[in-house]
């Protein structure tokens, strides 16, 4: 049954550009990018118990690196992408060492501070980053000679990357290491007493999450062909965090649902309401009140109750 549903979903997702207009296909691409970003944040928030308000750092670093390498330093897209991802992962490795000196609120504040530093750099180091004007005139890569300039081509590209990212992160979470990570989230002291190194486990998860954050950043800059300091801002981090929590942190599908919701609200509500953030806030208030653990866990419980009641 669920396998059938999965197959239908796969066909629908793959065939989406055939029956949807360009506007919707582009919206779909943006949702996919936001989904990878939210999934990577969920590794920290949901499975690692590390609530970060600075995850946009990795999206931004990858996007800026790719933009700079391809425009200013004349790298091709292949080498540019590789170096951007390596650079982002190294950034995550350094940030992890700093942020993991604390847990809980301390960790949250350090991640926020670090991402604010990057945001400030992007704004003020205008000789490199072009400051508030952002970096425009970027191009999309053409992997294996296939141009990604049409909305449909880019959508399929993003879909393949997203499916790969989803599977990789799901495998990671269900692995022995994933069990260690969840254990450290729930009982760090016990885990240490059992022989697990809590710090190292958290740090590896942090770096891995940074890596996938970087992948979403690459897609992000390819899609927009433009990068601006706002993608490094606290709003960018907070929106993703809201998505993860609203969809259901620590679940596989929750972040995808949450990220979709945020993006749809942003795109539709902002057309009618100038203060669309207010609507976003209200929707989240509603979710938190009705389904405190998020949409996916909430729906799972509802259907379980409904099935139980039908019997």
């Amino acid at each position: 049954m669920s396998r059938l549903a999965l197959a239908i979903l796969a066909v629908l997702l793959a065939a989406f550009p055939f029956f949807a207009g360009d506007f919707y296909v582009n919206l779909g691409s943006q949702i996919l990018i936001a989904a990878i970003f939210a999934l990577s944040l969920n590794l920290l928030v949901g499975y690692g118990g590390m609530t970060s308000l600075g995850h946009a750092s990795f999206l931004g670093v990858a996007a800026y690196l790719s933009a700079l390498l391809t425009t200013r330093y004349g790298f091709g897209h292949g080498a540019g992408a590789l170096l951007s991802i390596i650079g982002t992962t190294l950034t995550a490795a350094c940030f992890g060492v700093i942020a993991l000196r604390a847990t809980g609120l301390g960790f949250l504040m350090i991640t926020l501070a670090l991402s604010q530093v990057l945001w400030g750099l992007a704004y003020r180091m205008s000789n490199v980053t072009n400051g508030d004007n952002g970096i425009a005139g970027l191009t999309r890569p053409a992997p294996f000679g296939i141009a990604l300039d049409s909305p449909a081509a880019f959508y399929w590209f993003a879909l393949i990357v997203t499916v790969f990212a989803f599977v990789m992160m799901a495998v990671f979470v269900s692995s022995a290491f994933g069990s260690s990570l969840k254990g450290v989230r729930d009982q760090p002291r016990r885990m240490a007493a059992l022989g697990f190194n809590p710090w190292m486990i958290r740090w590896i998860a942090f770096v891995y999450a940074g890596f996938w954050g970087g992948v979403s950043g690459l897609l992000y800059v390819y899609y927009h062909k433009y990068i601006h300091p706002t993608s490094l801002s606290i709003t960018s981090s907070a929106e993703a965090l809201l998505g993860v929590i609203a969809g259901g942190s620590g679940t596989a599908a929750g972040p995808v649902v949450g990220a979709t919701l945020v993006l749809l609200l942003k795109n539709y509500a902002s057309a009618y309401l100038e203060r669309w953030n207010m609507l976003l806030g209200l929707v989240f208030l509603f979710i938190v009140l009705v389904m405190p653990t998020g949409i996916i866990p909430g729906l799972t419980r509802l259907t379980a109750r409904w099935r139980g009641g039908a019997r």
């Binding site: 495998v171 990671f172 269900s174 692995s175 022995a176 290491f177 994933g178 069990s179 260690s180 969840k182 254990g183 729930d186 009982q187 002291r189 016990r190 885990m191 240490a192 007493a193 059992l194 022989g195 697990f196 190194n197 809590p198």
Partner: protein, 249 residues
């Protein structure tokens, strides 16, 4: 490596929380395979002493040695790899996971497999088999697939034990393994502790003297963070000071 004389040595250990001394010049030595009991009234510093042995707390001065090796500055997880294992007075289990998963984590902690990132944990059948064997040992095999949150308090105490036993430690610290158990549960757990193989030295904190004294060969009496008495069981029981500490002068 020559066999060390003692499995666990605590040497002139001192610890204070601010101005409050909780461990004062505590020394004791436990031989491999020994059954040792630590007694003392509430607030005597028994659990604090355990936490210094495991590395959760850093002592202000003094040494902890495992098989002759100084581990005083070693992180808790490294001590686990050196053969130290413990249970907690306050139950510290993974409530949403199954009993099997809880015990499997105990096994995983000492294996390189714990760093494996590309293969689902469920594929390691051998880990599950061994976890079930350990659960069978503590009489909980029939509950292996239930989440910990579903089972009774007394059963949780036995899962605590199973997690530690699965690691086949050389030194096992038991922090009030009988706390809050009914009479029948007590005798079950007592038999379980008695069945721990002799490769393992057992150090136990316990208030229930009737049960615990049967298991012990040597006893340390702590009060206000100090060692009052330390010696063979019968000698400590017979001593005037034991009665004084427990019943008042």
């Amino acid at each position: 490596m020559t066999a060390a004389r003692y499995a666990l040595e605590i040497i002139h250990l001192n610890k204070a929380f601010g101005g409050l001394p909780v461990t004062q010049d505590v020394s004791m030595s436990i031989c491999p395979g020994e059954r040792h009991l630590i007694i003392g009234p509430n607030g005597a510093g028994k659990t604090t002493l355990f936490n210094q042995v495991t590395g959760d707390l850093k002592p202000n001065s003094g040494q902890v040695k495992l098989f002759g090796v100084d581990v005083t500055r070693l992180a808790p997880f490294k001590r686990a790899h050196a053969g130290l294992s413990r249970t907690y007075q306050i139950i510290t289990l993974f409530a949403h996971d199954t009993l099997e998963h809880n015990v499997a984590l105990g096994l995983l902690g000492l294996r390189p497999t714990r760093w494996q990132m590309w293969r689902p944990l469920s594929r390691y059948r051998e880990l599950a088999t061994e976890a079930r064997r350990t659960l069978d040992r503590v009489g909980l095999l029939h509950l292996a697939d239930h989440p910990v949150s579903d089972i009774a308090y007394g059963e949780k105490r036995r899962v605590e034990l199973a997690m530690a036993l699965a690691q086949q430690p050389k030194v096992l610290l038991l922090d009030e393994p009988l706390a809050g158990l009914s009479n029948t549960e007590r005798s079950t757990v007592k038999a379980l502790i008695a069945s721990i193989p002799r490769q393992t030295a057992v150090v136990m904190i316990e208030h229930d003297m009737d049960t615990a004294l049967d298991l012990a060969e040597t006893v340390t009496l702590l009060n206000y963070g100090r060692v009052i008495l330390d010696g063979p069981r019968d000698q400590v029981i017979a001593d005037e000071r034991t009665r004084e500490v427990y019943l008042g002068p």
